[in-house]
Symmetry: C2
Subunit: 399 residues, 2 copies
């Protein structure tokens, strides 16, 4: 085979990425074993029939030809309205480009602000694709480490230090956060925003979990002083409307940035299916009710997990104020998140993600996705806690 | 606004791109004028209802969650089978990645083989997005000029010269060709293949018009000696199945290249909607009959145009052996393609694309898309020829 470009051969960093537990669980399931999967951020419901019917209506109605590359005007307007209503920032369709999913928006945003060789900052722990996405743009990913004791919030001081050391061009944040469930509070976001202004950083704000807030409020940093001209917001209907498979999202940002992003989209995707955009418009038009219906199970299950955790004191939760995950501290067991997850899968056929899958900051933790029914989740987390207690006790006796 | 990356601000080359005629026609139509549009490569039929019904069946059946990033296995297999049957090259699902459209495949292929700063060759005249696609990957586009007298076929000698001058990494070709309608004959493809082997070039072969052959045969260069290890084939259901808006395509290539392309897709698109893939599988399962049904109007209209052209000798056609376009030589009028197209739109409200929209090689030509009904096309081309004759006569008298 002729030689491939170095950029494509180095998108994955090589070596273990901590996803062995996930793949082992899938293999066990394929072999017929009864494994409880608490690994992946995918709803246990399908996309609502009403949305799918709207899509079919659009397709059979003839919206099967090329759609405009930046997106159907009515959908751009609906996204702009939604953002303006929720954040107060003046937003028009010219500030919105529709993308084939949030991942495409993340990639395009980094393409827009980083040249090859530039440094792009991101926060550890992180959603699995972040460093690879930055590497795919030929930029260099540099992580901002965080601590469980700070609910994994990034410190502005660390951001400034990294920005200056690496002459960074951008910072990627994600609140509500995957994998930690943290919701960045206002004072933290204000400090981050100030660091961005002072160091001339673009802020890429991944807000795909913005409808999943269990405590506190969602603040979009684009609404903070001086930020609307240096923030690209990544949004999506995947999590808010259980439309993961439809690959529909957006970027919101300054008009001139959107104009350049349209040139990029012309060269990279050539737009998004019109009938999916029409279905998405229908979904947004259903307003808060549908979003709350989709979010409700996660709200309920998060409360349920906190109740189970209150029964013991070996396993503790990082404040899980949003998103469809809780991050649990299992350091009392003396095991790494990875070893604990492997042992839990072997002993109890419960699959969770090791904190190490998401970088180094969440070592000694595990992520539990709230994506199975309440009863099963409750039993599984209780089993998990008892397993951790036993490990912790064995350790105490051994020492 | 904070500064954008140089790569995204330079995707368009700036200045006129020759699409003024197209936009002027659109403006006239929006103002209520009766313009005949022969500009864009979009079918005058919608996607077949049976395909849309298959999509709805899949979506309502629950295929609304994340699909596997490289594509649904059954679709990868169906594409592999189709390619193997038509080309004879052993092809399995591991040689196929499903992409959200042919444009995404073009971009991804260049990302895979060119590092930032590398040179990527392409053939002029070219499909509008080619140079921007290469620039979006931070590679440098260098065109291979061609001549109308050679039916716009690229010469292997020119390719070798450009490859050596620029130390190029890749060559992009497109047969059947947009905008010229040329189908590259075997001996031309063999010479191109030899130039690729001798100069260690990847060949990116855009074959999205492979079902639209009116004369001769479609040869995939991946089937030529030594080429399967250095060819990435770009395919799509857009043109073959009138599914332009569904954004569904693929890349076929060496297994190791596909593996890296999957890493790229994980970072750039995160896959393609499962229900669109199921609909595409259904479409491919309909076999040749559906493809011929979609291609038939273009075959008929191309013959019809040749009949009209035979009535006069001012306007001549480049051998239009494939694709949904004919390229007409209007140099006898003394006008550029651009000026002729503008005048034709003004005088007769017929919109065609100037050859200059597709680079410099097709100056003095216009591209006619075969995308209106037979009667209207026939009348329009006859009017066009009479208009050209009059211009040519005026010119003779004036000189």
């Amino acid at each position: 085979m002729a030689k491939l470009s170095s950029r494509i051969t180095s998108i994955t960093s090589g070596g273990s990425d901590g996803w062995e537990v996930f793949y082992r669980a899938r293999t066990m399931i394929a072999a017929g074993e009864d494994v409880t999967e608490l690994t992946i951020g995918e709803h246990d419901v399908r996309t609502d029939d009403s949305i799918l019917d709207a899509m079919h209506h659009s397709a059979r109605g003839g919206h099967t030809g090329y759609a405009l590359v930046p997106g159907v005007q009515a959908l751009r307007q609906a996204v702009a309205d939604r953002i303006q209503t929720r954040t107060g920032v003046p937003t028009g369709p010219e500030n919105v480009m529709i993308t084939p999913g949030g991942q495409s928006a993340l990639f395009s945003a980094h393409m827009a602000v980083c040249a090859p060789g530039d440094t792009a900052l991101f926060v550890d722990p992180y959603y699995a694709t972040y460093p690879g996405t930055i590497r795919a743009t030929s930029a260099t990913p540099v992580s901002i480490q965080t601590r469980a004791s700070d609910a994994f919030l990034p410190s502005a001081k660390e951001i400034t230090k990294a920005a200056q050391t690496h002459n960074a061009r951008s910072l990627l944040i994600n609140s509500p956060n995957n994998p930690t469930g943290s919701v960045y509070p206002r004072e933290n976001l204000e400090a981050i925003a100030q660091a961005c202004v002072e160091n001339d950083l673009w802020l890429i704000s991944d807000e795909v979990y913005d409808t999943q807030i269990w405590q506190g409020e969602h603040i979009s940093p684009r609404a903070l002083p001086g930020m609307s001209d240096r923030t690209l917001v990544v949004g999506s209907l995947s999590k808010s409307h259980a439309m993961t498979g439809s690959r529909i999202g957006w970027i919101v940002g300054p008009k001139d940035a959107i104009q350049c992003l349209i040139d990029l989209a012309t060269s990279t995707t050539y737009g998004v299916p019109g009938y999916i955009q029409d279905a998405s418009l229908f979904a947004l038009q259903q307003g808060d009710a549908l979003e709350e219906k989709v979010a409700a199970p996660f709200r309920r299950r998060r409360a349920l997990i906190l109740d189970v955790l209150a029964e013991q004191n070996t396993v503790t939760a990082i404040p899980a104020n949003g998103a469809m995950y809780t991050m649990l501290d299992i350091r009392a067991t003396g095991l790494s998140g990875f070893d604990f997850a492997q042992a839990l899968l072997t002993e109890h056929k419960i699959a969770v993600m090791p904190g190490e899958s998401f970088g180094t900051s969440a070592a000694g933790h595990i992520r539990v996705a709230l994506t199975v029914d309440d009863a099963k989740l409750s039993v599984s987390v209780r089993t998990l806690c008892q397993f951790a207690q036993k490990l912790a006790q064995d350790r105490t006796h051994a020492s």
